[in-house]
Symmetry: C2
Amino acid sequence: MASKKASAKQTASTKPSKPVHEPYPASSPEVEVLVQEVISRVADTWTMLVLEALVEHGRLRFTELGRHIPGISQKMLTKTVRQMESDGLVERTVYPVIPPRVEYEITNLGYTLSEAFCGVWIWAEKNHKKVEAARAAFKSRVV
Amino acid sequence: MASKKASAKQTASTKPSKPVHEPYPASSPEVEVLVQEVISRVADTWTMLVLEALVEHGRLRFTELGRHIPGISQKMLTKTVRQMESDGLVERTVYPVIPPRVEYEITNLGYTLSEAFCGVWIWAEKNHKKVEAARAAFKSRVV
DNA sequence: TTCTATACTTACCCAAAGGTGAGCGATATG
DNA sequence: CATATCGCTCACCTTTGGGTAAGTATAGAA
C-alpha cells in the first residue's frame, strides 16, 4: 500500500503538500493480482489469530490451539489451519497414535508474515481511539 | 501480531531457537477486541484498494475513484467509502451542484494506515512465490 | 422536448462464510 | 462392557458479501 506503483502524476498531484511515499518499485499487473490474492487470504481474521497464537505459544495441539483463539469453531479452525499449511505458513505434524495427536508450528514464512503484520497491529493499537472518535463524530453529523 | 502480548512462558517456550520478538507491551483484552475489530474492517479488500487508489492519485471524484479500482461495483464503492469516512480514513466533500460532484481524499489517519500496510504488501511481493510453491508442494503431497 | 451526466439508493438474487450438532475410529480406562 | 479421548468430517442451516439492474433528481445541451 501507500504508493505501490510509481506514478508520474504524483508530481502534479492535487495534493502536493502531502509527503510522497515511494518505498519500492512498481510491479507488473500480474504480480499485483497475485499479491492481492495472497493478502486477501492472509489478512483473514482467523489466519491472523492463528498466526498470533502460534507465535505466542509455540508448537500446539489442535484443541490447545483452539483454546487460544476465543470464538473459533472446530470447523473454521480446521479450515484455516489447513489453508495455512497449504500456504506454507504452518507445519502440521501427525502422530499416528490413538487418540490422535496433531501438532502445529509456525514456519519461517509464517513468522515473517507475523512480523509484517506487526505494523498494522501497532497502528490499530495507536489509533483505535481516533477511529472510535471519528465514528462518533460521523454518527452525530449524519443523524 | 508477532507476540503482541507479553508472555512469561516465552522464556521456557517449546521453541527457544526462534527469536522472541516483543516490540510492544501487552494490552488489555478489551483493547485487543477493539483492535481486532478495527483490523478486520480495515483489512477488507476494498478498503485496502480504495486507500491505495487515493494515496496514489490524490483527491478523486466518485466515478474516477471507481475507475482506479478494477472490478468494484457502485454499490461496494459507496459502501466502502462511507465506512472509511465514518472511520476517519477519508474525507468526503460534496459540492451541491447539478449534476452532483463529490470528492474523496485520504486523511492523515488513512495515510498512516496505508503506511502500516506497506509491510504486508512488501511481504506479499517478496513471498508470493514461496506461497505458490508451498501450495504446489502441498497439493502433490496430499493427492 | 428529450437526452445526458453524476452520485448515489433500492430491490432482488446468488454464492460464500460460518455456526451447530452428529458421527467416527480404536484404544485405554473404569 | 461402556465410556472418554482427539482430531477431525459431514450435513444442514442462517447470515453476510456482493453482483445486477433499475430508479432518482435536476440542470444544461442538443
